[in-house]
């Protein structure tokens, strides 16, 4: 595998994470638990859509087949999406949305911090910009995890059950294969090992403060990074791609 090819695959993965999670969070717009939080969630969705645009445009450039960010976002088949299973999970209640966001933000902040120093200039530039946004998302989501965990009995049990439901998707965050090995060797991306250790420390800390218990079940789900998804992605893509599929080759 060539570096460029590997980098295309890698940028697609993290671009798809932003795209799919941004889509999910945008579903909240107009339905948030209070007006102020509605606005906050939409800001997060906007940041993620912006990151997806930058990353997928770059992926298209790397691929060199004339596809831009839109072509990649709207015109692939489900098996070609490389996002984490975690981010395609449905919103559920506000607690589940926040917990999904928190697990992702914690990983993404650690990743972007390192990618800011990537030897690939464009990737590093995107990372620098995204990091500022993502740090804020993490502040927002971790504060809410603590509030809900340590709020009322009801909120505690709700967010605990979301943690129980989502935990099985966390192992995949640290997925790495030959793509990563090659890029890591060239200093383009960091090692997942270091990120995993820091992530585990960080989330355990917040969960302790929130009074939440990490599930002990160790049977994990993965597949997103290789295009094997849960049932939820298909429905998401049906909406996301509706216009482009129903009215092909038009300008909007």
């Amino acid at each position: 595998m060539e570096t460029k090819e590997a980098l295309f695959e890698y940028v697609l993965r993290i671009g798809d994470d932003s795209l799919i999670l941004g889509h999910r969070v945008s579903e909240w717009c107009g339905h948030g638990p209070i007006l102020e939080e509605d606005i906050a969630l939409t800001n997060i969705a906007l940041d993620l859509i912006g990151q997806a645009t930058n990353l997928l445009d770059y992926a298209g450039q790397l691929e060199g087949k004339g596809r831009d960010g839109d072509a990649l976002a709207f015109l692939r088949y489900d098996r070609e999406y490389k996002n984490l299973l975690l981010v395609e999970q449905t919103n559920g209640d506000f607690g589940k949305t926040i917990l999904r966001q928190f697990l992702f933000d914690a990983y993404r902040t650690l990743l972007l911090t390192r990618l800011s120093k990537s030897t690939d200039e464009q990737l590093s530039a995107i990372a620098v910009k995204s990091l500022k946004e993502t740090k804020y998302h993490l502040k927002h989501s971790s504060e809410w995890v603590i509030r809900l965990g340590d709020g009322t009995e009801d909120s505690h049990s709700r967010i605990q059950s979301s943690l129980d439901a989502l935990w099985k998707y966390t192992d995949e965050i640290f997925f790495a294969n030959e793509v990563d090995a090659l890029l890591e060797k060239e200093g383009i991306i960091p090692s997942m090992e270091g990120i995993k250790n820091e992530w585990t420390f960080f989330v355990s800390d917040i969960f302790a403060e929130a009074g939440l218990v990490i599930p002990t079940n160790n049977w994990k789900q993965e597949g997103g990074r290789t295009g094997r998804h849960t049932e939820h992605l298909g429905y998401l893509l049906a909406e996301l791609q509706y216009m482009q599929r129903a009215y092909p080759d038009m300008k909007w």
Binding site: S26, N43, D70, D93, W252
Partner: protein
Amino acid sequence: MKDLNIQELERRFQEKIDNDIKIEPRDWMPEEYRQTLIRQISQHAHSEIVGMLPEGNWITRAPNLRRKAVLLAKVQDEAGHGLYLYSAVETLGADREQTIDDLHTGKAKYSSIFNYPTTSWADMGAIGWLVDGAAIMNQVPLCRCSYGPYARAMVRVCKEESFHQRQGFEIISLLAQGTPEQKEMAQDALNRFWWPALMMFGPNDAESPNTLQSMKWKIKRLTNDELRQQFVDVTVPQAHMIGLTIPDKDLKFNEETGHYDFGVIDWAEFWEVVKGNGPCNKERVDARRKAKEDGQWVRDAAMAYAEKRKIQKAS
């Protein structure tokens, strides 16, 4: 000072208004002025919030990333507008959540335009162009409204609105110049939204008994019919320019008056929609009520957490 009789207070109040001096929250004001403002501003706030729904309907189906981001930012702005306005309502001693509950029980009204369904992407264009366009026309004069907090909120809102109309016009003009399917989609959206947009300015002046008092108090600066005419006059040429047809066979430029004459609005439909019989009244209010009910545990949790922290800090 404190024992001025009510007539004297009212006289001074009206004098201030006549001299374009703003009324501020803690100033003396007639009870009817306060109540009228609470009703008008909260209705306006509800319209912003309910107005998020028909457009929110297309966020997940926007045709490309740029449109998705623009639409998200636009709908988010409407949430902001609602918030600025609720914030103005609260300065009058009304409680935001109470006024929202009035919306949910059907006691409070909101702009009837949002009870129409958004069935195609072109509706995002039609809404931005026509609905935000009509809203701007309504709102610009309100920046000079006599009540300070309302006027200041409107200044902020109007600044943000101008991008809304432009993004809508951009969407619809692109479609109007696109493929036959797109053009048809654009015309269809205009056909469905034109008349409801004209209804946004409210009943004819003759049927609008409160207008006189509201104008005297300067919480309304132009009448419904004046605003509607302004809207028709600026919008018709825009439609022509992009090659769309206004669905009104009586529409004609009147050389004498310098204005467009237009057909008769179906007021029966208007009142039915106001009464709750529009195509989406129930869906809209249900969606807002559901959001509030589903969020109750979240708001309670945050409050409980904040209280625990306060106690912890104190001890």
